[in-house]
Symmetry: C2
Subunit: 160 residues, 2 copies
Amino acid sequence: MKFFEDIRVGETTEIGRHTFTAEEIKAFAARFDPQPFHLDEAAAARSMFGRLCASGWHTACMWMRLLVDHRRREDDARRARGEPVATLGVSPGFRELKWLSPVYPGDTITYATEVIDTRSSMSRPEWGIMTARNTGTNQRGEPVLSFVSSAFVERRQKQS
Amino acid sequence: MKFFEDIRVGETTEIGRHTFTAEEIKAFAARFDPQPFHLDEAAAARSMFGRLCASGWHTACMWMRLLVDHRRREDDARRARGEPVATLGVSPGFRELKWLSPVYPGDTITYATEVIDTRSSMSRPEWGIMTARNTGTNQRGEPVLSFVSSAFVERRQKQS
Protein backbone atom coordinates (compact mmCIF):
# COMPACT_ATOMS: atom_id res chain seq x y z
CA MET A 1 0.00 0.00 0.00
CA LYS A 2 1.07 3.60 -0.58
CA PHE A 3 1.48 5.75 2.47
CA PHE A 4 -1.43 8.06 3.19
CA GLU A 5 0.54 11.18 2.22
CA ASP A 6 1.14 9.79 -1.28
CA ILE A 7 -2.52 9.16 -2.12
CA ARG A 8 -4.18 11.78 -4.33
CA VAL A 9 -7.86 12.44 -4.80
CA GLY A 10 -8.79 11.58 -8.38
CA GLU A 11 -6.32 8.70 -8.73
CA THR A 12 -8.06 5.92 -10.64
CA THR A 13 -6.71 2.39 -10.82
CA GLU A 14 -7.92 -0.64 -12.75
CA ILE A 15 -7.46 -3.38 -10.18
CA GLY A 16 -8.25 -6.37 -12.39
CA ARG A 17 -10.73 -8.27 -14.54
CA HIS A 18 -12.68 -11.42 -14.00
CA THR A 19 -14.76 -13.57 -16.35
CA PHE A 20 -17.64 -15.22 -14.52
CA THR A 21 -18.40 -18.83 -15.50
CA ALA A 22 -21.71 -20.64 -15.01
CA GLU A 23 -19.93 -23.13 -12.75
CA GLU A 24 -18.60 -20.55 -10.30
CA ILE A 25 -21.87 -18.56 -10.36
CA LYS A 26 -23.71 -21.72 -9.27
CA ALA A 27 -21.06 -22.71 -6.71
CA PHE A 28 -21.19 -19.29 -5.03
CA ALA A 29 -24.99 -19.29 -5.05
CA ALA A 30 -25.20 -22.79 -3.57
CA ARG A 31 -23.18 -21.58 -0.61
CA PHE A 32 -24.38 -18.01 -0.10
CA ASP A 33 -27.38 -17.05 -2.24
CA PRO A 34 -29.39 -20.13 -3.27
CA GLN A 35 -32.05 -18.38 -5.32
CA PRO A 36 -33.21 -20.23 -8.46
CA PHE A 37 -31.96 -17.60 -10.94
CA HIS A 38 -28.41 -17.98 -9.55
CA LEU A 39 -28.48 -21.80 -9.45
CA ASP A 40 -30.18 -23.26 -12.48
CA GLU A 41 -30.46 -22.21 -16.13
CA ALA A 42 -34.01 -23.51 -16.60
CA ALA A 43 -35.33 -21.80 -13.45
CA ALA A 44 -33.48 -18.62 -14.40
CA ALA A 45 -35.14 -18.63 -17.83
CA ARG A 46 -38.52 -18.44 -16.07
CA SER A 47 -37.38 -15.66 -13.70
CA MET A 48 -37.34 -11.88 -14.06
CA PHE A 49 -33.69 -12.13 -15.16
CA GLY A 50 -34.44 -14.48 -18.06
CA ARG A 51 -30.99 -16.11 -17.77
CA LEU A 52 -28.66 -17.47 -15.12
CA CYS A 53 -26.88 -14.55 -13.45
CA ALA A 54 -24.42 -14.07 -10.62
CA SER A 55 -25.41 -13.19 -7.08
CA GLY A 56 -24.70 -9.51 -6.48
CA TRP A 57 -22.67 -10.58 -3.46
CA HIS A 58 -20.53 -12.71 -5.76
CA THR A 59 -19.86 -9.70 -8.01
CA ALA A 60 -18.89 -7.65 -4.96
CA CYS A 61 -16.70 -10.38 -3.42
CA MET A 62 -14.68 -10.65 -6.64
CA TRP A 63 -13.86 -6.94 -6.25
CA MET A 64 -12.36 -7.74 -2.85
CA ARG A 65 -10.33 -10.62 -4.26
CA LEU A 66 -8.94 -8.59 -7.14
CA LEU A 67 -8.12 -5.67 -4.83
CA VAL A 68 -6.12 -7.93 -2.50
CA ASP A 69 -4.26 -9.42 -5.48
CA HIS A 70 -3.61 -5.98 -6.95
CA ARG A 71 -2.22 -4.60 -3.70
CA ARG A 72 -0.01 -7.65 -3.23
CA ARG A 73 1.49 -7.15 -6.69
CA GLU A 74 2.06 -3.46 -5.95
CA ASP A 75 3.65 -4.16 -2.57
CA ASP A 76 5.90 -6.83 -4.07
CA ALA A 77 7.06 -4.30 -6.65
CA ARG A 78 7.74 -1.71 -3.91
CA ARG A 79 9.79 -4.20 -1.93
CA ALA A 80 11.72 -5.15 -5.08
CA ARG A 81 12.59 -1.48 -5.52
CA GLY A 82 13.65 -1.26 -1.86
CA GLU A 83 10.74 1.04 -0.97
CA PRO A 84 8.81 0.89 2.30
CA VAL A 85 5.28 -0.48 2.25
CA ALA A 86 2.47 1.13 4.24
CA THR A 87 0.02 -0.89 6.30
CA LEU A 88 -3.58 -0.86 5.24
CA GLY A 89 -5.82 -0.74 8.29
CA VAL A 90 -9.29 -2.02 8.85
CA SER A 91 -12.23 -0.97 6.74
CA PRO A 92 -15.10 0.36 8.81
CA GLY A 93 -17.49 -0.57 6.00
CA PHE A 94 -18.92 0.91 2.85
CA ARG A 95 -21.93 2.70 1.53
CA GLU A 96 -24.13 3.22 -1.48
CA LEU A 97 -23.65 -0.22 -2.99
CA LYS A 98 -25.60 -0.51 -6.21
CA TRP A 99 -26.12 -3.52 -8.43
CA LEU A 100 -26.71 -1.78 -11.73
CA SER A 101 -27.00 -4.65 -14.22
CA PRO A 102 -26.98 -8.46 -13.96
CA VAL A 103 -23.72 -10.36 -14.54
CA TYR A 104 -24.26 -13.34 -16.86
CA PRO A 105 -21.99 -16.33 -17.55
CA GLY A 106 -19.17 -15.30 -19.86
CA ASP A 107 -19.31 -11.65 -18.83
CA THR A 108 -15.90 -10.11 -18.11
CA ILE A 109 -16.07 -7.47 -15.38
CA THR A 110 -13.35 -4.83 -15.14
CA TYR A 111 -13.00 -3.48 -11.61
CA ALA A 112 -11.62 -0.02 -10.88
CA THR A 113 -11.20 2.21 -7.86
CA GLU A 114 -11.02 6.00 -7.72
CA VAL A 115 -9.89 7.96 -4.67
CA ILE A 116 -12.62 10.50 -3.88
CA ASP A 117 -11.52 11.77 -0.46
CA THR A 118 -8.60 11.68 1.96
CA ARG A 119 -8.81 12.97 5.50
CA SER A 120 -7.09 12.71 8.84
CA SER A 121 -8.39 10.41 11.54
CA MET A 122 -9.15 12.36 14.69
CA SER A 123 -9.23 9.27 16.88
CA ARG A 124 -6.20 7.50 15.35
CA PRO A 125 -3.52 10.08 14.46
CA GLU A 126 -1.16 7.47 13.01
CA TRP A 127 -3.69 6.68 10.29
CA GLY A 128 -5.41 8.58 7.50
CA ILE A 129 -8.79 7.67 6.04
CA MET A 130 -9.06 7.07 2.30
CA THR A 131 -12.48 7.01 0.65
CA ALA A 132 -12.85 5.49 -2.81
CA ARG A 133 -15.57 4.86 -5.37
CA ASN A 134 -15.32 1.32 -6.66
CA THR A 135 -16.87 0.15 -9.89
CA GLY A 136 -17.37 -2.95 -11.99
CA THR A 137 -18.04 -2.61 -15.73
CA ASN A 138 -18.86 -5.37 -18.19
CA GLN A 139 -17.34 -5.97 -21.63
CA ARG A 140 -20.08 -3.85 -23.24
CA GLY A 141 -19.09 -0.86 -21.09
CA GLU A 142 -22.20 -1.17 -18.89
CA PRO A 143 -21.74 -0.53 -15.17
CA VAL A 144 -22.76 -3.54 -13.06
CA LEU A 145 -21.53 -2.52 -9.59
CA SER A 146 -20.74 0.71 -7.75
CA PHE A 147 -19.99 1.39 -4.10
CA VAL A 148 -18.04 3.73 -1.85
CA SER A 149 -15.49 2.24 0.54
CA SER A 150 -13.42 3.70 3.36
CA ALA A 151 -10.21 2.35 4.86
CA PHE A 152 -7.54 3.42 7.29
CA VAL A 153 -4.09 3.86 5.68
CA GLU A 154 -0.78 4.24 7.54
CA ARG A 155 0.84 7.68 7.58
CA ARG A 156 4.51 8.03 6.81
CA GLN A 157 4.79 10.93 9.21
CA LYS A 158 2.94 10.24 12.44
CA GLN A 159 0.86 13.15 13.67
CA SER A 160 1.59 14.37 17.17
CA MET B 1 -42.57 -13.54 0.81
CA LYS B 2 -45.43 -11.49 2.23
CA PHE B 3 -47.24 -9.18 -0.14
CA PHE B 4 -46.18 -5.55 0.07
CA GLU B 5 -49.48 -4.48 1.68
CA ASP B 6 -48.91 -6.87 4.60
CA ILE B 7 -45.47 -5.54 5.55
CA ARG B 8 -45.39 -3.18 8.54
CA VAL B 9 -42.66 -0.73 9.50
CA GLY B 10 -41.10 -1.89 12.75
CA GLU B 11 -41.52 -5.62 12.09
CA THR B 12 -38.36 -7.34 13.31
CA THR B 13 -37.49 -10.90 12.38
CA GLU B 14 -34.63 -13.13 13.51
CA ILE B 15 -33.68 -14.80 10.25
CA GLY B 16 -31.17 -17.32 11.61
CA ARG B 17 -27.88 -18.01 13.36
CA HIS B 18 -24.54 -19.23 12.14
CA THR B 19 -21.42 -20.39 13.98
CA PHE B 20 -18.27 -19.55 12.03
CA THR B 21 -15.55 -22.22 12.02
CA ALA B 22 -11.85 -21.63 11.35
CA GLU B 23 -12.11 -23.95 8.34
CA GLU B 24 -14.85 -22.01 6.62
CA ILE B 25 -13.27 -18.64 7.48
CA LYS B 26 -10.08 -19.77 5.72
CA ALA B 27 -11.94 -21.32 2.77
CA PHE B 28 -13.90 -18.12 2.13
CA ALA B 29 -10.77 -16.00 2.48
CA ALA B 30 -8.76 -18.20 0.11
CA ARG B 31 -11.38 -17.56 -2.57
CA PHE B 32 -12.44 -13.95 -1.97
CA ASP B 33 -10.31 -12.12 0.61
CA PRO B 34 -6.84 -13.69 0.91
CA GLN B 35 -5.44 -11.40 3.60
CA PRO B 36 -3.16 -13.07 6.20
CA PHE B 37 -5.47 -12.41 9.19
CA HIS B 38 -8.30 -14.31 7.44
CA LEU B 39 -6.11 -17.22 6.28
CA ASP B 40 -3.62 -18.24 8.93
CA GLU B 41 -3.68 -18.26 12.75
CA ALA B 42 0.03 -17.41 13.17
CA ALA B 43 -0.10 -14.49 10.74
CA ALA B 44 -3.33 -13.29 12.35
CA ALA B 45 -1.66 -13.31 15.78
CA ARG B 46 0.85 -10.78 14.44
CA SER B 47 -1.85 -8.61 12.83
CA MET B 48 -3.97 -5.78 14.21
CA PHE B 49 -6.75 -8.32 14.90
CA GLY B 50 -4.56 -10.56 17.09
CA ARG B 51 -6.51 -13.67 16.06
CA LEU B 52 -7.89 -15.31 12.96
CA CYS B 53 -11.14 -13.56 12.00
CA ALA B 54 -13.68 -13.78 9.21
CA SER B 55 -13.67 -11.55 6.15
CA GLY B 56 -16.34 -8.92 6.54
CA TRP B 57 -17.71 -10.05 3.18
CA HIS B 58 -18.08 -13.56 4.60
CA THR B 59 -20.11 -12.20 7.53
CA ALA B 60 -22.32 -10.30 5.08
CA CYS B 61 -22.73 -13.23 2.67
CA MET B 62 -23.97 -15.46 5.50
CA TRP B 63 -26.74 -12.92 6.09
CA MET B 64 -27.83 -13.45 2.47
CA ARG B 65 -27.77 -17.22 2.86
CA LEU B 66 -29.81 -17.21 6.04
CA LEU B 67 -32.31 -14.74 4.56
CA VAL B 68 -32.90 -16.98 1.53
CA ASP B 69 -33.35 -20.02 3.81
CA HIS B 70 -35.68 -18.10 6.11
CA ARG B 71 -37.88 -16.89 3.26
CA ARG B 72 -38.05 -20.37 1.77
CA ARG B 73 -39.27 -21.78 5.09
CA GLU B 74 -41.86 -19.02 5.35
CA ASP B 75 -43.07 -19.52 1.78
CA ASP B 76 -43.29 -23.29 2.28
CA ALA B 77 -45.46 -22.66 5.35
CA ARG B 78 -47.69 -20.26 3.39
CA ARG B 79 -48.17 -22.81 0.61
CA ALA B 80 -48.93 -25.51 3.18
CA ARG B 81 -51.69 -23.23 4.54
CA GLY B 82 -52.98 -22.66 1.01
CA GLU B 83 -51.97 -18.98 1.04
CA PRO B 84 -50.55 -17.12 -1.96
CA VAL B 85 -46.86 -16.24 -1.97
CA ALA B 86 -45.61 -12.85 -3.17
CA THR B 87 -42.65 -12.50 -5.50
CA LEU B 88 -39.60 -10.75 -4.14
CA GLY B 89 -38.10 -8.57 -6.83
CA VAL B 90 -34.56 -7.47 -7.42
CA SER B 91 -32.54 -5.58 -4.84
CA PRO B 92 -31.11 -2.35 -6.21
CA GLY B 93 -28.36 -2.53 -3.58
CA PHE B 94 -27.75 -1.43 -0.02
CA ARG B 95 -26.17 1.30 2.02
CA GLU B 96 -24.37 2.09 5.23
CA LEU B 97 -22.73 -1.29 5.65
CA LYS B 98 -20.68 -1.32 8.85
CA TRP B 99 -18.38 -3.99 10.18
CA LEU B 100 -18.58 -3.20 13.88
CA SER B 101 -16.52 -5.97 15.49
CA PRO B 102 -14.43 -8.89 14.18
CA VAL B 103 -15.99 -12.35 13.93
CA TYR B 104 -13.69 -15.03 15.37
CA PRO B 105 -13.83 -18.83 15.00
CA GLY B 106 -16.51 -20.24 17.27
CA ASP B 107 -18.55 -17.02 17.29
CA THR B 108 -22.27 -17.53 16.73
CA ILE B 109 -23.85 -14.64 14.87
CA THR B 110 -27.58 -14.01 15.13
CA TYR B 111 -28.94 -12.18 12.09
CA ALA B 112 -32.06 -10.05 12.22
CA THR B 113 -33.91 -7.70 9.90
CA GLU B 114 -36.22 -4.80 10.80
CA VAL B 115 -38.50 -3.07 8.30
CA ILE B 116 -37.75 0.66 8.50
CA ASP B 117 -39.64 1.99 5.46
CA THR B 118 -42.21 0.96 2.87
CA ARG B 119 -43.06 3.05 -0.14
CA SER B 120 -44.61 2.83 -3.56
CA SER B 121 -42.48 2.49 -6.66
CA MET B 122 -43.23 5.30 -9.08
CA SER B 123 -41.59 3.54 -12.00
CA ARG B 124 -42.97 0.05 -11.30
CA PRO B 125 -46.54 0.33 -9.97
CA GLU B 126 -46.93 -3.43 -9.53
CA TRP B 127 -44.16 -3.40 -6.90
CA GLY B 128 -43.56 -1.71 -3.56
CA ILE B 129 -40.14 -0.95 -2.12
CA MET B 130 -39.26 -2.30 1.32
CA THR B 131 -36.27 -0.89 3.17
CA ALA B 132 -34.82 -2.82 6.12
CA ARG B 133 -32.03 -2.50 8.64
CA ASN B 134 -30.14 -5.77 8.87
CA THR B 135 -27.91 -6.70 11.79
CA GLY B 136 -25.58 -9.43 12.98
CA THR B 137 -24.92 -9.81 16.71
CA ASN B 138 -22.48 -12.20 18.39
CA GLN B 139 -23.09 -14.46 21.38
CA ARG B 140 -21.90 -11.72 23.74
CA GLY B 141 -24.55 -9.34 22.42
CA GLU B 142 -22.02 -7.24 20.50
CA PRO B 143 -23.09 -5.97 17.07
CA VAL B 144 -20.76 -7.17 14.31
CA LEU B 145 -22.62 -6.10 11.16
CA SER B 146 -25.22 -3.51 10.21
CA PHE B 147 -26.54 -2.38 6.85
CA VAL B 148 -29.65 -1.03 5.18
CA SER B 149 -31.12 -2.94 2.24
CA SER B 150 -33.88 -2.20 -0.24
CA ALA B 151 -35.88 -4.63 -2.32
CA PHE B 152 -38.90 -4.63 -4.58
CA VAL B 153 -41.85 -6.66 -3.23
CA GLU B 154 -44.94 -7.69 -5.21
CA ARG B 155 -48.22 -5.90 -4.45
CA ARG B 156 -51.39 -7.88 -3.94
CA GLN B 157 -53.43 -5.10 -5.46
CA LYS B 158 -51.83 -3.74 -8.58
CA GLN B 159 -51.86 0.06 -8.77
CA SER B 160 -53.38 1.57 -11.86
